[in-house]
Amino acid sequence: MSTTFDQVATIIAETCDIPRDTITPDSHAIDDLGIDSLDFLDIAFAIDKAFGIKLPLEKWTQEVNDGKATTEQYFVLKNLCARIDELVAAKGAGAQP
């Protein structure tokens, strides 16, 4: 069973045509991989579909713009994957009776 990181890294590689072996858990999607906002929308779409969640991109962007969070908290891949796992867990918990 592939990890969240494996799935996200594959999505990024295929969406942005970035060599898979250059993508690591410590890669910063923007600073290291050079992913721009439009490409990140494509990635978000693929992640939303793959994990059945809705990445709160607008909330994250607002928090970064307001100085309440750093881009590293959301866009370093190991942190992004942790957020995805949290969203998946929350979705699962919400689905229970």
Binding site: L38, L41, D42, A44, F45, K49, K54, L55, L57, E58
Partner: protein, 156 residues
């Protein structure tokens, strides 16, 4: 349709907020300078204008779903197929539906039919932001009135 003002939608026929679908009508002008160049002796509507028409149709669906609080913008054409020519004077029926609603963006599926036959279809990505200024909001209100946006669709 008024190509000069990029007003591609003439009227909204149906807006289903539950199903998240919209159907609009667009009358291709009989005469326009666009057709003089595209193409001399064989006038057909350019594919980019058909894509714009599908994007505007998708946009009105999103404007309705977001209760006129946000403005959508075409962000990406994921796929578009021009399946048949659209000559001057045709009456287009344009359909759009939501494929995916993300945070700050949506993916729509849109198509244009004439007489029930599909002339083109596309998968589009639109990003959306709060209206950047009152002028644009006022313009959209005016266009909504012109194309018969069903205000009752906004009721809770």
């Amino acid at each position: 349709m008024q190509f000069e003002y990029f007003q591609m939608i003439d009227r909204i026929l149906d807006l289903n907020m539950d199903e998240k679908t919209i159907t609009v009508e667009a009358q291709v002008p009989q005469h326009n300078t666009v057709f003089e160049g595209h193409f001399p002796g064989y006038p057909i509507m350019p594919g980019v204008l058909l894509i714009e028409t599908m994007a505007q149709c998708s946009g009105w669906l999103l404007v309705g779903l977001m209760k006129f609080e946000r403005m959508p913008f075409l962000a990406a054409v994921k796929e578009a197929k021009m399946r048949g020519f659209v000559p001057p004077g045709e009456l287009l029926t344009v359909h759009a539906s939501i494929h995916h609603e993300g945070s700050g963006y949506a993916i729509t599926e849109a198509k244009i039919t004439v007489g029930g036959k599909t002339r083109c279809n596309a998968t589009l990505m639109l990003s959306h932001i709060p209206f950047p200024n009152p002028d644009l909001r006022g313009h959209m209100d005016a266009v909504a009135k012109r194309i018969g946006f069903p205000q009752q669709a906004l009721l809770p």
